[in-house]
Subunit: 398 residues, 2 copies
């Protein structure tokens, strides 16, 4: 049986490039940016007042002028208005384009205007209250680097620079396949020995964060049906995310079916709890099969610990650093498997992320998935974990 | 001029209840749950083996039996199969419903089966490897509490309990209005004294996190047009989110227009940077106007510091605790305003959230909104902030 680290290494060695497509910027939120966004002109594109008031030529003030005839009022969006003589001023609004004949702006709060004369009674500095052309960025400078998830701020920047079509990463084509004769649809009334399905819709919902619209399929434990459908799906999709059918049961057909279809096993079983029977493979066309054990907690853990990192690395998403939290209670682990414990995250006033573990009844107990936020990964080498120790966490429910 | 805390108090005293609606669970991701989700039967609903193997009656083992004739193979999803005599066993799969005639399960790994006899050679415990009926939750117990954002895990739980229609909070009807003659559409080539609009699409994108689809409108600095449109919008929408037109400029008509339309000013101007000229009001029908100053950074700050908390409180979203981070560099603030500095968040191996401030050229400089993640709120009482100190942060770009 391999370790969690070995499993991660094998999975992350199978990342793939799904290409790039151009889409309208209004639809790009949440997609992965595939090009740098650059300034199409200097930012700001002109010298602009940062306040409402008057614009003067500082040389006149320096020579003693304190009253300036108002030549004109210039609003934002108008062509720049020059002064004709050094001692004139322009009433000017925030965001207007300053003319080269003026070089200093004084706020309305610091002047009075009477009979067309603006009177200045405070000390001023040359060049004050002006946001200079090109001060933030020069034309051609990078504003947003490629390989990050497109946020509201990035949409706003794209809009500012007229980038109305954006190159984004294409997403893999994914089907989620749940298995198990005991699983009925959520609309059904289950018999006393049946359960309603949830793994498919849970995974589908989790992938929406990446704007990935996965298909869903449920298969009963019928060998021929499973073989036929896996054979079809491995042709039609890039990735199969399967739950169930990979353990020791008499009807756990998946490993055998995959082998018969030429899907090479890259590993089966990891020294971890939950999720030990996880099976992972690929075929000769680099189609991948993530076959998770069927319990809801196992599926959720394997999805966040293995599939999401594979997806983020395939899409080349940068800037996600590992997250650590401070354990809030002692934990004893009475087995030799790397344990992923469900925790409730919080923050304290030291700016630390805190993690309080919850007691569960194993991987079939999904009743705490909604009131926890993360799995804390407790190292395999230890059995005893103490309050105050810091370990890595894998967030969900974000 | 009021303080940030006073502004927050005024805004949060204006929260509103927009009611509840029922929607299909497949469309509920990201909405706010308006009812508790409860277990429709015990969880698990039957005694279920947690491993694949054989089910026996412990009393037989206790009396010395080590070889058990296999009466039948029971898969998950089948009705329970009883043993006929105490010394028989059932081959049984994970997730099947255990019959009352058996009470202990032994894994395939710990037995051998020859000629229809299962041979046990290890020590076992009564009741082992069984996830007992009702062990996680009893019928009627709350699985998910109301007033939280519906996550993938909650969708999965809803599916499990057959809750295919879910009560969620209705969302307010919102229009985002940008103003300014200098602002042209992102598709346009601006003149040297024009800029492309971005505030509308930025706010609209930020609200999508709450599945809130806001309308967008741009108005030029035309008094009559502004008055006509604000008058229409205040009837048609619950909330107006406006950018620009609230400062000292000759064409900053909004405060006057609002007053003439009977929209009561609750405050104008806050002791903060950016965002000082923020205007907030309501009319007699509790319609709200958040009128932010027009610079992109001011809009972004006011949105996250004031509007989002108002929205989350109105929707009664629980469980969001304040976030704090450790400042990574010294900052001097040379003005008597509460400063919101843009920071890049990170985490360190102590589980602490870290915040590195970036230098910007004022509220018109939006070039750092994409490479930062939060505003750090630096207390008004101080001017000097040191590396290692911990302050509150308001996240964006999540």
């Amino acid at each position: 049986m391999i370790t969690v680290q070995q499993a991660e290494d094998i999975i992350l060695s199978q990342t793939q490039d799904f290409g790039i497509e151009d889409i309208a910027y209004e639809h790009a939120l949440g997609r992965v940016l595939a090009e740098d966004l650059t300034a199409d002109r200097d930012l700001p594109p002109f010298d602009r007042p940062t306040v409402d008031g008057i614009a003067i030529r500082y040389a006149a003030y320096e020579k003693g002028s304190r009253s300036f005839p108002v030549k004109a009022i210039q609003s934002a969006g108008e062509a720049s208005i020059p002064i004709d003589s050094e001692t004139e001023c322009i009433e000017i609004m925030t965001g207007a384009a300053l003319d080269h004949s003026v070089d200093t702006v004084i706020r309305y709060e610091d002047i009075s205007i009477d009979n067309g004369m603006a009177n200045v009674s405070i000390d001023i500095k040359k060049g004050q209250n002006i946001h200079l052309k090109g001060r933030d960025k020069k034309e051609g400078n990078i504003l947003v680097q490629a390989n990050q998830i497109i946020s509201p701020a990035i949409i706003g920047i794209a809009s500012s620079v007229g980038k109305t079509t954006i190159a984004v990463k294409k997403l893999p084509k994914i089907i989620i396949i749940s298995t198990g004769d005991e699983m009925v649809s959520p609309e059904s009334i289950p018999s006393p020995y049946q359960l309603r399905r949830s793994n498919g819709i849970t995974i589908k919902s989790a992938l929406k964060k990446y704007h990935l619209e996965a298909d869903i399929l449920h298969l009963n434990d019928d060998y021929e049906e499973i073989k036929k459908e896996i054979s079809r799906c491995i042709h039609e999709y890039d990735v199969l995310l399967i739950s169930g059918g990979v353990s020791m049961g008499k009807f756990d057909y998946l490993p055998q079916v995959c082998e018969e279809l030429g899907i090479e096993k890259l590993f089966h079983k990891i020294k971890q709890r939950p999720g030990k029977p996880f099976w992972f493979g690929k075929n000769q066309h680099q189609k991948l099969v993530f076959a998770f054990p069927g319990n809801p907690v196992s599926v959720f853990m394997c999805l966040h610990r293995y599939f999401i990192p594979w997806l983020e690395k395939s899409l080349e998403i940068q800037g996600n650093s590992p997250q650590f939290a401070v354990l809030q209670n002692d934990i004893e682990v009475p087995f030799a498997l790397q344990y992923f414990v469900q925790v409730k995250l919080g923050t304290n006033q030291l700016g630390q992320l805190t993690a309080e573990s919850v007691h569960t009844n194993g991987s079939g107990d999904f009743s705490h998935l909604a009131d926890t936020n993360a799995f804390m990964e407790l190292p395999l080498e230890q059995n005893s974990f103490k309050k105050g120790e810091v370990y890595r966490v894998w967030k969900y429910n974000d």
